[in-house]
């Protein structure tokens, strides 16, 4: 029996697949209904109408948001797989004192000529450098507090970044009278101002350039160092043994993260940038198991979120606020909406991710339950045929109902089997088709082989074998069966004396 023809296997597999179509349909139905409900709501409520006002300013804003989101999502992927996401939050908070100190230093050195064109450039680059420096310093300090003080990692992070942030706030407030520096500028950023700047000057604003450069650096480094980054992300010890300096790589990653985050401050601010950093990466993490795909997906998700976020910032006032009776609001914060939309994407991924989503996991459980019910029906039919018992539908279902107490599932499984051509129904009597016989034979032989195996290797009474075999029969594949046969030698009958098909 071991030399079963290959084609017979595919018959069984094909029959199984046919009966699996249901879950695929469920999935498609869900996706399509979701899509249609969104489109339906949009059409019925005429929510798309404000989008007609989309103009060049909107283009600039979307371009800036997309650049920021995509640039951030790349280092975000590595932070997520390295389980250091909160480091991103810490760096972005800790950068504040760097910005403030650099700002104050710039004013101190510049003396009188504040209005010179070159001063603006110097000031900006000093602030950028200061922020990146303090951001990286934050990771160094965290590590030394963790190591020297034996403080738990999260707590060390919390101590360091809040202290640095407090220094920044203190300086900012203390010098607020001398020089004009607005905390909100760093904390929230303003994509609207950037777009306005572009509109007024007719040039591409520097914020967009900075983010484009950050994105280019990120992509370049990932392409260049992908292998090293991947090894050190998943197995730093292995990375060290194959000669990769993972410590160096860690600080390199932190520096790049800091640069990307600081580049994004002007556009989205230091708190919301964390959403762009982590959420697309985590969403992609739910969707795929490959790091390379994860990065690509994260970039796509980030870009989509930026576009949808801006569009919904325009749509929301009409769609949500007008029905509530707020008419004065023209549009809401584009960045806030982008963060919200990314959160929404993450939520959708939690539910509907193909393998790790909760809905798909539930569907898989349903699928498994149906398959088990089907195989129970097949097994019952096979045994009835074997002992020449009646195969009337009512008798079979009644027997299975006694065994498993799930009559609706049995009935459903039977119908599924009929539609998958594994069982043929003539009037009331049920017959196994050719495929059905092979499939049922697999199930029954699994059952009986397992019983034989258990009675040979475990000190169990014969009346204890059935229960376990009833569970295991659904999970033995072809290879396991042939190994069981080899292990048992030449057995043709199970411990109860029945033939093993």
């Amino acid at each position: 029996m071991t030399g079963r023809p290959k084609s017979a296997l595919t018959v069984v597999q094909r029959a199984r697949r046919k009966s699996d179509r249901l879950s695929t349909w469920c999935y498609m139905f869900l996706a399509v209904s979701l899509l249609f409900s969104v489109i339906g709501i949009a059409v019925i409520s005429e929510a798309w109408r404000p989008l007609m006002k989309w103009d060049a300013i909107d283009n600039t804003m979307v371009l800036a948001s997309v650049l920021v989101a995509v640039a951030c999502s790349v280092p975000g992927c590595f932070l997520v797989v390295r389980k250091q996401s909160m480091m991103g939050d810490a760096i972005s908070h800790a950068a504040l004192p760097g910005v403030v100190i650099a700002f104050l230093l710039a004013y101190m050195f510049a003396g009188e000529d504040h209005d010179a064109e070159s001063f603006e450039t110097i000031k900006r680059s000093m602030m950028f450098g200061g922020a990146v420096f303090v951001g990286v310093l934050c990771t160094l300090l965290t590590e030394s507090v963790q190591r020297l003080g034996r403080v738990e990692g999260n707590a060390a992070l919390g101590v360091v970044f809040t202290s640095l942030f407090a220094i920044g706030l203190l300086l900012m407030r203390a010098k607020a009278d001398d020089v004009h520096i607005d905390p909100d500028c760093v904390l929230y950023g303003s994509v609207e101002n950037i777009a306005l700047e572009a509109y007024l000057t007719g040039q591409i604003p520097s914020a967009i350039w900075v983010n484009a450069i950050a994105l280019a650096i990120n992509v370049f480094l990932v392409v260049l160092l992908f292998k090293e980054l991947r090894i050190s992300a998943f197995d730093p010890t292995l990375a060290t043994t194959v000669g990769i300096n993972s410590r160096m790589l860690h600080y390199g990653l932190m520096t790049v993260t800091a640069i990307t985050l600081v580049a994004a401050f002007e556009t989205v601010g230091s708190i919301l940038v964390v959403a762009m950093l982590i959420a697309p990466a985590a969403t992609a993490y739910l969707l795929t198991d490959r790091l390379s795909w994860m990065i690509v997906l994260a970039m796509i998700i980030a870009a989509a979120a930026a576009v949808v976020g801006h569009a919904s910032a325009i749509v929301v006032p009409d769609l949500v606020l007008r029905p509530l009776g707020i008419n004065s609001v023209e549009s809401v914060s584009s960045t806030g909406m982008t963060a919200t939309v990314i959160g929404g994407f993450f939520l959708i991924a939690i539910f509907f991710a193909p393998r790790h989503g909760t809905v798909s996991r539930a569907l898989n459980r349903v699928k498994l339950a149906i398959r088990i019910a089907e195989e129970d029906v097949l097994g019952e039919l096979f045994r009835r045929v074997e002992r020449r018992d009646t195969t009337a539908t009512s008798a079979v279902l009644e027997r299975l109902g006694q065994l498993h107490r799930r009559s609706w599932l049995n009935r459903f499984a039977l119908r599924n089997l009929v539609s998958a051509d594994a069982v043929r129904r003539d009037d009331d009597a049920l017959h196994l088709t050719e495929e059905g016989v092979l499939w049922a034979g697999d199930v029954v032989s699994s059952h009986r082989l397992w019983e034989s195996y258990m009675s040979k290797h475990f000190a169990l009474d014969d009346d204890h074998l059935h229960e376990a075999a009833e569970r295991v029969e659904h999970f033995l594949d072809d290879e396991m069966r042939s190994r069981l046969r080899d292990e048992l030698g030449d057995v043709d009958v199970d411990p109860h004396g029945r033939d093993i098909p």
């Binding site: 939050d89 101590v159 202290s163 708190i271 739910l286 914060s333 959160g343």
Partner: protein
């Protein structure tokens, strides 16, 4: 258990109340007596005097509120720190922001002009905070996304919702959003009597819950599975702890602001960790640190103008942390460094004595003098190190030194015999029981010889069937004592020195 021990344990368990009670009784009674505003102080010393003497009504209120908040945050923070969830406070405080903004919106929608009612906003903050905490734990449980990413996502996305809501509020026709930003940066300086009442009530509730559930919270921090297996409702206790964090965040938002409230949850607790290994004591200390840093922050900011009180409080807490990290008796760097330094000095002396013993043994002149150059090459130390260790040996009356010659005192002879004996007992033990080749045991014994004492020594003597008198066994391997000019031992042709 004696009555005294019972009372002592109860005191430890109720640490919170002890910290709160003086602050509560004194400060709130002082705060309740409103007095007229006095002239602004002319000199900073006068300002300090006024603040410390609680002359200003405003200062009294602020001082009371901040101190009580500091105690509460420190106490709750201990549990979060030990539970390794220190950053949950960050999520809760950020998540409270959309709660505040949406509560404002709702209030404005239902009856315009009531948006700034504090109770509405605080209810919103509480709901937001609870939502944030629950969302984090749901993501952690339901998906394969790890803890850190769950925290970061909930924090930033909910803050994004908050920013969106804020942008709506700012563009409303009725009312403005000025009050809402107080929640972000705190408004310590403008705290009112009703704010204080609220902080005090919330703190007393939090302290009471901590006191009642002290044992349960401790269980949750140290061994959740054990607790669950004994039938404790760990999920409910966890929920309870999350509620405490939400409460702390809500009252902390009023004082230090939502961006910094997490600091008050983490820093005092982390600093207290350096002072004690007992959770009761730690809670006391953390509460104290919270109170001290808050009070100092308020006092300093009321004397020096233009300082952000919230940031100042956090920085004082941070300096307490740095101080604790340096000088804390349990884990502090200086005490640990001092212990290490003492150990190094002790082992150096031991090495010197053993080198003397081994060299003398090879030369079969246990009482005689040895040239220092021989010892120096045997030990392989630098000249200066050797001179320092030898000087300490002389001071401790273990060795005598006459120019280039060195000899052991009587005490030194006994001590060196003891150390060499420890060394060789351990070597024998390794050879016999750990199956290590005789040529490989020396280095390991080198490290362990200094700490073999008492019970371990007796155990070794028993297992190796050595008599307990001070007889030194033969070395299981050849001891090579080399000398640059003369080869001393019979089998020491290779001039490489073994040992230290």
């Amino acid at each position: 258990m004696t009555v005294v021990a019972r009372v002592a344990r109860w005191c430890r368990g109720t640490a919170t109340i002890w910290w709160l009670s003086p602050a509560l009784i004194y400060l709130t009674s002082a705060a309740s007596q409103a007095s007229e505003l006095e002239d602004p102080p002319t000199r900073w010393t006068e300002g300090l005097y006024r603040v410390v003497m609680l002359r200003d009504y405003n200062t009294r209120v602020v001082l009371a509120g901040a101190t009580v908040m500091g105690v509460t945050a420190g106490v709750v923070g201990v549990f979060m720190l030990l539970r390794k969830r220190a950053l949950l406070g960050d999520v809760v405080s950020h998540a409270a922001f959309p709660g505040v903004a949406i509560a404002y919106l709702c209030a404005e929608l239902t009856s315009p002009g009531t948006g700034k009612t504090l109770s509405y906003l605080l209810v919103g903050a509480t709901v937001g905070g609870v939502f944030g905490a629950m969302a984090t734990s749901w993501i952690r449980r339901a998906t394969r996304v790890k803890d850190d990413a769950a925290l970061a996502i909930v924090l930033s996305v909910l803050f994004g919702v908050g920013i969106t809501a804020l942008s709506i509020v700012q563009r409303l026709e009725t009312g403005n959003a000025a009050g809402l930003t107080n929640f972000i940066y705190g408004k310590t300086a403008s705290m009112t009597w009703s704010d204080l009442k609220l902080i005090v009530i919330a703190s007393v509730v939090v302290a009471g819950v901590v006191m009642l559930l002290f044992k349960e919270l401790t269980l949750l921090c140290f061994d959740e599975q054990f607790g669950a297996s004994h039938g404790w409702p760990t999920a409910s206790i966890d929920m309870c702890l999350n509620m405490l964090v939400v409460a702390v965040c809500v009252i902390g938002m009023q004082t230090v602001g939502l961006l910094l409230v997490v600091a008050m949850l983490i820093i005092p607790a982390a600093a207290a960790r350096f002072w004690s290994d007992r959770i009761g004591t730690m809670t006391c200390i953390a509460g104290g640190f919270g109170a001290v840093s808050s009070a100092t922050g308020v006092v300093v900011s009321s004397i020096v103008p233009d300082l952000a009180t919230g940031a100042l409080i956090v920085l004082f807490a941070a300096s307490l942390f740095v101080g604790s990290m340096l000088f804390g008796v349990r884990q502090g760097l200086v005490p640990r460094g001092y212990l290490l330094f003492r150990l190094r000095r002790k082992t150096a002396i031991h090495h010197l004595l053993r080198a003397f013993y081994e060299a003398a043994e090879v030369r079969t002149q246990l009482n005689g003098q040895l040239p220092t150059s021989l010892l120096l090459s045997h030990l392989g130390w630098k000249e200066r190190t050797f001179a320092g260790v030898a000087k300490r040996g002389v001071r401790k009356r273990l060795v005598r030194r006459d120019g280039q010659e060195m000899s052991l005192t009587e005490l030194g002879q006994r001590e060196s015999a003891r150390i060499v004996r420890n060394h060789r007992l351990w070597e024998l033990y390794l050879i016999r029981y750990a199956d290590i080749a005789p040529t490989h045991v020396d280095r390991d014994a080198d490290q362990i010889e200094h700490i073999i004492e008492g019970d371990i020594l007796h155990e070794l003597e028993r297992t190796l069937a050595q008599s307990a008198d001070q007889e030194v066994p033969q070395s299981p391997h050849a001891v090579a004592v080399s000398h640059p000019s003369a080869v001393v031992s019979g089998d020491g042709q290779s001039t490489k020195s073994e040992g230290s």
